[in-house]
Symmetry: C2
Subunit: 452 residues, 2 copies
């Protein structure tokens, strides 16, 4: 961990650094410094030692905690354009009466503006990487390139699009893999077992193997879907993923609140390849009867990453809130106040989230050699003081608005709450001009039907 004497790209001094030990236990190094070079963490060292090192850029982070940037493991970023259009509705009405009719109007320009607004929100909330599952993803990739964030992108498809859906998803994944200077990774993105048929899923699994790609898919989103799948097909949605070969690939399952006990051995046999993304706020808002069974997944070694889903259901892309809600809802649903401690929540927010998006070796901890995706969190606000238990302060008292600085690949994207790569008022204005056309539902079309 000795930094090189040559000029560093960036040195962050005087902060407390969230670190993981060899057993992945979370700890805090006080009065520390982070040396960044070539987009990587070169060293985490004492503030004194770093004081004399030359650097192109320095950040004085006294009173702040440096931690790995948050990863939004499942979202539909451009849907921020639809934030608040479909409130207080059951899932089926939300999809069929509002969201899917509106999405039939989507243009590439809407997606571009939505993605820009979403990236602004995420960077301000300390998110340095997001897994996006949506349409017109070329536009999202362009925005990622432009604004400096990291992303794991997949072009979503339904079987109703015919084989072209799958082919387009593959073509996108191959063309953008390694894009934006390596900040873009890609995945195949079949929508869900209830909108993509078995043949298409099997073909997708085959393409994933052939091209060394992963799969990002909604599955067992809620208990209803599991019940209907069992009734109609005799297997759960997880069973569908198994029989179609999807579980033989590296797969990120969104939500999984409908995962049942009989799914656990199936998932366990895919441990090491499969991860689940949990977005607890939306499950509460839709009044789903269960949440992601994180404790059961923990017991079988399946990482669970934090997510927000799209803002049309979650109303924000606030992964910090997802972290706090995950801790609270896990305690509540297991009936055990000792389960999912703040340190566990931080483990989900860091290493498990990095693993969920296939970046477990390059992100998730501020260890030398990892990408320099770093956020600085200000704990001087009255709501965060005094600090008796720093992990608890981070999870239960701090808020996304306490993130002062967001860094990706060593590049500062937000400094002291000011976004350096995105112009929010311009995006909001331009998006506003397109709203009448985007929200029009008089045509009676929808891109898909929600029938679990």
């Amino acid at each position: 961990m000795t930094p090189s004497p040559a000029e560093a790209d960036l040195i962050i001094t005087g902060c407390t650094v969230l670190v993981h030990d060899d057993h992945e236990r979370i700890g805090f190094e006080e009065d520390a410094a982070i040396v960044v070079r070539d987009g990587l963490v070169e060293a985490v060292t004492g503030a004194d030692e770093a004081g004399g090192l030359p650097a192109r850029e320095r950040i004085d982070a006294r009173g702040q905690v440096a931690m790995p940037g948050l990863v939004n493991c499942h979202t539909h970023a451009p849907m921020v354009a639809l934030r608040g259009v479909a409130e207080d509705l059951p899932t089926e009405e939300w999809f069929n009466d509002v969201v899917w009719p509106i999405e039939s109007n989507l243009t590439e320009k809407d997606v571009e503006l939505g993605a820009r607004l979403a990236c602004a929100e995420m960077i301000r909330g300390g998110v340095t990487c997001f897994a996006d599952h949506y349409f017109a993803m070329d536009a999202v990739a362009a925005v990622v390139d432009e604004c400096g964030i990291r992303a794991h992108l997949g072009e979503a498809f339904f079987s109703s699009q015919g084989p072209q859906g799958r082919e387009k998803s593959l073509e996108f994944a191959l063309r953008h893999r390694g894009g934006a200077g390596g900040r873009i990774t890609t995945t195949l993105a079949p929508h869900a077992p209830y909108t993509v048929d078995d043949a298409d899923l099997a073909a997708t699994a085959e393409l994933a193997r052939e091209h060394g790609l992963s799969v990002h898919i909604h599955a067992s989103e809620n208990r209803d879907q599991t019940d209907v799948s069992l009734e109609r097909q005799g297997v759960t949605p997880i069973g569908v993923l198994q029989r179609t070969g999807i579980l033989d690939t590296d797969v990120l399952i969104a939500h999984g609140t409908g995962i049942v006990d009989s799914d656990l051995p199936v998932l366990e046999s895919a441990a090491g390849r499969v991860a689940v993304a949990s977005a607890p706020r939306g499950y509460l808002k839709f009044a789903w009867p269960t949440t992601t069974p994180i404790r059961a997944l923990y017991d079988i070694g399946i990482p669970v990453g934090l997510a927000t889903d799209g803002a049309a259901s979650n109303n924000s892309l606030d992964v910090w809130e997802s972290m706090a809600l995950t801790a609270l809802i896990q305690k509540s649903t297991t009936g055990d106040p000792r389960w999912l401690t703040s340190r566990q929540a931080l483990h989900h927010a860091t290493l498990q989230s990095a693993r969920a998006v296939g970046l477990g070796e390059t992100l998730g901890t501020l260890h030398p050699g990892r990408r320099a995706d770093i956020i600085l969190v200000d704990l001087t606000g009255p709501h965060a003081q005094p600090v008796h238990d720093l992990a608890a302060t981070l999870v239960h008292s701090a808020r996304s608005s306490d993130v002062r600085t967001t860094i990706v690949d060593g590049r500062v994207l937000m400094r002291d709450r000011e976004l350096l790569t995105l112009d929010v008022p311009a995006v909001v204005r331009e998006l506003g001009e397109r709203m009448l056309a985007l929200l029009d539902r008089s045509h009676g079309r929808r891109i898909q039907d929600y029938k679990t």
Copy 2:
């Protein structure tokens, strides 16, 4: 609603104002202005009309929503000093092993510093009034006077203190009633039916009647307490409040997650006098099996105000978060996504919270003649845009950190996020010096035992 032509104390221009109609339905007046005089809302008028009026002070609030200040209907403000000391514990261990031993060390100075930090946090979070139920409340009253916030204060007591506890609570209530230029209202504050015996509760009810005071008490905090009360005394905690005459007074019940169906007719017969304060975050964190039954209380006409409880369990005094969680947890626990809409949540946050603390005629809506307790909420952040449904934006997308300006009785206590009446770094420093003594548990004492 025509403002006087004489110079106003304060005019807020260019904002959208949250208003209530004659049926208490929430609406929004765009491009409006608020005229404040003598600590009261004099008029809510058009921005054009207000443009020409003279005023001692003007606030340009374009892009912001003006709404009634939030009310924290049940807290123990000075407990911010213990934020994070007792994490991930069941209720009984939280009380007996950590909080009550530490509280046996409390000095008036600790309470004063804690109250100051708490008021800073609340003013920054848009809270303009709080109901506090704690010890050494003279110190809290002094801080309220000094910093300009409004408060409903009660000196807590246990029967283990003997009759002096009750007498001290009465003496406090009488001495401080109408204090801080009318910003302080007072109440009698027996701790709970499991720590205050029936004779003491009956005597408290008698004192309340005699002196025209209300009562603020924990009751039916969780289902366990209800079960144990039924087993030992043959009645629920609500039954205890009834048989001791407490329900014949104006009473604010904290939590009530253990309220059961048989309590509802009892509470209904006290409608108009009784209110409940709900602090949902802590119920999740303690893994209590139920939350406040807001829908059942709504059906019998009992107002439910929003609260945070103390920061030792809730980890913050963020009433904005309580508002969002109330909506989410109500949907989830009733299984109905249509229940507790954003407008309902805002009704709880405004009129119902004002009623809960006995100020239903003077606070809770920005109507002419009401106290000018106003917050200005900035919705220009990327996380709040675009705005398709302003009520949903406020409840589900905005955060307490979006409150830019906090006004109590027409006096600006925070402007553009800067606190004008409190010095947070000084309080944090002074509190820090006292921590070793405060946290010492080697003496083996506790102020009380938790045995439901």
